[in-house]
């Protein structure tokens, strides 16, 4: 387990007020928000977003300068954010947690559905370091494939795969990973998406003896490594699959040790 000391400065820990500058509809239930403000953050870190009349919840960061995020309506908080307009305010606590670390020069990014947002941020940062990037995006249907145009803008053509074949190949993200691994020989695999997909990516990466960095989701309350709510439950997450040594036996807190786990 790699646990970095969490020496956040207090300024990153209280809420800062951000103002919406642009809103883009991405699909039937997803919007991208670009704010007037920037936030110094690493790809893979997260923020706690607070709407005072509603709630506070963790969200991934899709870009830092200016701050941007892509939000899918799945609950009252994300619906609340998705009803914000240009000029509206949002309260941001963070960045929190450990983000991705760029390792090597050839990176394979694997996104499951809405896990694509932090990987866009990672792709942009990796390009600054002259990395070759291959992107796999998997989702249920064509309607759930997001941000492809944003990758195209930076010269990347994602490999797309859907469960029903309505866009790209028919299948799941890990099928497409196989092709990329053969052609690109990546130095490291990065993934963000549902738990089951992460487990499959992990298995595939281990099979090919590739270092991998996976971004996990959890119920989050304090976001500060204190309340214990976001401990990755070993049994729940690894029943019948090969456990990641990073959180074997758990005690692993998604908010503080993660959200990104490192295979090495």
């Amino acid at each position: 387990m790699k646990t970095q000391p969490n020496l956040q400065s207090p300024s990153t820990a209280t809420h800062q007020v951000f103002t919406v500058a642009e809103v883009h509809q991405e699909n039937y239930r997803t919007k991208t928000f670009i704010f007037n403000e920037s936030l110094t953050a690493n790809p893979g870190q997260f923020v706690m977003l607070w709407l005072p009349e509603l709630c506070e919840r963790p969200f991934s960061i899709a870009g830092s300068t200016p701050f941007r995020m892509t939000v899918v309506s799945v609950g009252c908080m994300s619906e609340g954010i998705n009803s914000l307009h240009v000029g509206d305010r949002m309260w941001v606590r963070g960045p929190l947690g450990q983000g991705f670390k760029i390792r090597g020069k050839r990176l394979l990014l694997v996104a499951g559905g809405y896990g694509i947002a932090p990987l866009l941020f990672l792709a942009k940062e990796a390009q600054k370091q002259d990395c070759e990037i291959d992107v796999v995006i998997g989702a249920r249907t064509a309607n759930d494939i997001l941000l492809v145009h944003e990758f195209e803008k930076i010269g990347l053509l994602p490999r797309i795969v859907t469960d029903d074949g309505s866009l790209g190949a028919k299948g799941i993200a890990t099928d497409m990973m196989e092709a990329s691994i053969r052609e690109q020989r990546p130095d490291c695999v990065y993934a963000c998406g549902p738990t089951k997909m992460l487990q499959a990516v992990e298995e595939k990466a281990r099979l090919h003896q590739l270092p991998h960095q996976l971004s996990w989701e959890a119920v989050m309350r304090c976001g500060m490594g204190l309340c214990g709510s976001c401990e990755l439950d070993h049994e729940e997450h690894y029943l019948g699959s090969s456990p990641n040594p990073a959180h074997h036996n758990s005690g692993w807190l998604v908010c503080m040790d993660g959200p990104v786990s490192f295979s090495e």
């Binding site: 000391p5 956040q8 506070e56 606590r93 204190l226 214990g228 401990e231």
Partner: protein
């Protein structure tokens, strides 16, 4: 000079060092309690369990402000019955590490305190800490029992009559005379005292025009709590002879040494886990060792209560 001896005798227990994971901090599972022990804690305290499962308050529940941490988690817990399983599992993991397990309980009435204590005792923790001072559940439980000597002593008697395992009563800092309350709970049978719980407070976000925590108020811990805790521990140590787990804002070795000088037998560590990660226990121990060496303290006893002499 040889290394100072950090072994800490607390009642009949021998802790490898005086640092105790404070209740409410990552004490929600056996694996997290084990992690704190592996990180260097000399004893670990589970998060408080009550008569029934509680979800706690909605977010926001905690944040750092410039001089400390404030939280109102709202006693999230699985209920005493389920807690027994967790504590048993924790006990198995902790035994080979030689790190004692402290359970923590809360309740709304004296009868419930007796019942919860008796339930938790089945897990055979080394000590039961009795949380009569959570500042964040006034809606459900009213004024904390820690507010007066009479009610604090009442809970102590209720718990003491229900269990054989030693108990420590966790006191609140926001009382006019903590020494008097300490004397009352010791008179009522407390084997030890944990001091202190968080200090009630409020943060307001100017732009939001409202308090930040969903509970509106919360408990202040971290740096801001340290001088308050030191004063409380010193007053308790001057008033009673039972061992004290001095808790409040201890973030480094110097803080820990000061807490022992104020009269604490062991030293609680909580919010420092935010400041320095779980491995902060190791850091504090290294600093404490170096400080004791520099000032020629051979053991904890040589420092303990030195300001009271």
């Amino acid at each position: 000079m040889p290394q100072p001896d950090l072994t800490c005798r607390f009642l009949d227990l021998t802790l490898p060092n005086p640092l105790v994971l404070a209740s409410g901090i990552i004490g929600t599972s056996a694996t997290l309690l084990k992690r704190a022990a592996l990180a260097g804690a000399g004893a670990v305290t589970a998060k408080s369990a009550g008569p029934a499962p509680r979800a706690g308050h909605p977010n926001p529940v905690a944040l750092d402000w410039e001089y400390g941490v404030i939280n109102a988690i709202g006693l999230t817990n699985p209920g005493a019955e389920e807690e027994v399983n967790m504590l048993r599992e924790a006990g198995i993991l902790l035994k080979p590490l030689g790190v004692p397990l402290i359970a923590s309980i809360f309740a709304g009435t004296l009868e419930e305190f007796s019942r919860v204590a008796a339930t938790i005792e089945r897990a055979q923790p080394d000590l039961i800490e009795v949380n009569i001072s959570c500042p964040n559940v006034a809606d459900d439980f009213g004024t904390p029992f820690a507010a007066s000597a009479e009610s604090a002593a009442g809970v102590t008697e209720a718990v003491k009559s229900a269990v054989r395992v030693p108990i420590s009563i966790k006191l609140a800092p926001n009382v006019p005379n903590i020494g008097r309350i300490a004397a009352a709970v010791v008179e009522a049978g407390a084997d030890a005292i944990t001091a202190v719980n968080t200090m009630p407070g409020m943060l307001i976000n100017f732009e939001a025009r409202q308090p930040v925590l969903s509970n509106r108020t919360g408990g202040i811990s971290g740096h801001a709590l340290k001088p308050i805790a030191l004063r409380c521990v010193a007053e308790i140590a001057a008033s009673v002879r039972v061992p004290i787990i001095g808790t409040g804002g201890v973030s480094n070795g110097r803080d820990a040494a000061e807490m022992i000088m104020a009269g604490a037998t062991a030293v609680g560590v909580g919010s420092a886990v935010w400041y320095g990660g779980v491995n902060v226990f190791t850091t504090i121990l290294h600093e404490l060792t170096a400080l004791m060496k520099a000032e020629k303290f051979d053991n904890l006893e040589a420092m303990r209560g030195i300001i009271l002499k």
